[in-house]
Amino acid sequence: MSVAEKAQEAQSVRNGWLLSTPALIILTLFAVGPLMIVVVYSFLAPGQYGNVEWKLSLDGWRGILWTKDIFDDTYGLADANVTIFWRSVKLSILTTLLTFAVGFPTAWFIATRPAKSRALWLFLITIPFWTNLLIRTYAINEVIRNEGLLNTVLIKLGVISEPLRIIYTDTAVFIGMAYVYLPLMVLPLFAAIDRFDMKLLEAGYDLYASRMQVLRRVILPIVKPGIIAGSILVFVPSLGAYVTPRVLGGGKQMMIGNFIDLQFGQGRNWPLGAALSLTLLIIVTGALLIYVKYANRDVSNGH
């Protein structure tokens, strides 16, 4: 490489950085930087009226799972916190499973439409994806409320005489999350199935495989990257969900997101809230890293 070429390349790199700088500044100030403050706050003591006292303390982190006995100052497992963590993980896993169970056939259906109508079906899945999460949560609320659509119809049909009490239960939060996050499962599954070579199915059937065998042995292994991507895309926001459990759980069926909110409000325990936020962030990052590892491995294996 000549000196001139080298200088030109250095100039190009410099321009690359220079052009990216405004975006990096905004992101540093309003996205990445504030996270550092959260780290600091998680190691401080709670202030009496909220905020913090500038005094080093590990109580925030300890408070995630343990609680101090008010009589003998020993630490015991905080049952309420364990319940909230367990509910968050359980509902997120259930949401992921349900969205996969109904999302896979849907993605398959879209991918096997003729090219012309496929765009329309895809658009129909995309609209809910981009519409306001709060509105969709409210829409589901309208259906499952005690006087909602579901109960009204079931009572009119004579199936039940008393309304089903779904709202403000774990089931309500579960139904709501599955409803709002379903498009996040369908879209990556569709992308994976769309690349799938249907001739492989013919080959499977020619070799006397049954439909179930073809599904299990041919389709699922090949679309696995899409399954993993969809699962991560549903699991991650489910775990950090705030709006859906707040509206459909009615403040009682809290998930981690609402528990964090509580610490900054009535709970007046900002360090605990900060430590909980970081815990959530660590779990989510872990899930994303697993995904990146899987995705890269599949690429390097030539799939």
Binding site: L19, W130, L134, L201, V243, G257, L280
Partner: protein, 267 residues
């Protein structure tokens, strides 16, 4: 074909499940819209068609106020995020991969990876400190918060557009003695424009829809439409919420349709 053929792509129960999914996906939204036209006070009993709730929402000062604020924030956030995202997209494409490029990607996509509630809480703390130190109030905090998380949404379509762009056009312009600025102004920008508009629209929709981060960064009396609705949901529900939701829904659908037409034409 009259005879029943064996279709390889057909799997048992898949079509039925898919149709059911589409019905379940749209039924709640359509119910919500239908009840916005309900004449009755209740959100449960149908009392005939009426536009009363739209009139009521229109005349509600809190709603009007929140709508104006929502639009103001969304426009500012879309403009800021699209401007910096366009520059970043120009900086990270069409040149040899350089050291630190991955870092820039990670930074830009960071808002997509961090749970909203965590960002919301971190900004609550930061803005609390700044407000206490400077005494400056105002809507600027919310606008900056929105600008940051809208950047990845604005960046992606612009980058996609740039990556599909023919480099020879710019070389040709340079060969014809155009200055770099002239090349950018008359060659790059016009080709890039659909991507920029698409990015700005996505950013606008994302900002308009945000609940969590706004809820934590706004000061008293700074409700946006979504946070106003969230607050109302704790109280008695009236079809007014349905009317507001339907209007917001209509706006989103219009913008999205435009977005898809804009990006599809260029495939």
């Amino acid at each position: 074909m009259a005879t029943k053929t064996f279709s390889v792509a057909k799997l048992p129960g898949f079509t039925t499940t898919a149709i059911l999914v589409f019905i379940i996906l749209y039924l709640p939204i359509l119910t919500l819209v239908a009840y916005s036209f309900n004449a009755s006070q209740s959100v449960a009993i149908w009392g005939g068609f009426s536009l009363d709730w739209y009139v009521k929402a229109w005349n509600n000062d809190a709603v009007k106020d929140a709508t104006v604020r929502s639009l103001l924030i969304a426009v500012c956030a879309a403009v800021i995020s699209t401007a910096v995202a366009t520059m970043a997209a120009l900086g990270t494409t069409r040149r040899k991969a350089f050291k630190g490029q991955t870092f820039i990607y990670v930074m830009i996509n960071q808002p997509l990876m961090v749970p909203e509630i965590v960002t919301a809480v971190s900004l609550l703390i930061l803005f609390g400190m700044v407000k206490q130190a400077t005494g400056i109030q105002g809507i600027g905090y919310v606008i900056f918060a929105h600008s940051a998380f809208c950047i990845p949404f604005a960046y992606l379509p612009i980058r996609a557009r740039l990556e599909g762009m023919d480099l020879t056009l710019e070389t040709a312009a340079a060969d014809l003695y155009a200055t770099p600025w002239q090349t950018f102004r008359h060659v790059t920008l016009p080709i890039l424009l659909p991507g920029v508009i698409a990015g700005a629209m996505l950013a606008f929709v994302i900002s308009l829809d945000d609940v969590v981060i706004t809820e934590f960064t706004k000061s008293g009396g700074q409700d946006t439409l979504p946070t106003y609705m969230l607050g109302q949901m704790r109280r008695q529900l009236t079809p007014e919420i349905n009317a507001i939701s339907s209007m917001l829904l209509a706006l989103t659908v219009v913008l999205l349709t435009a977005f898809f037409l804009l990006t599809r034409k260029n495939d």
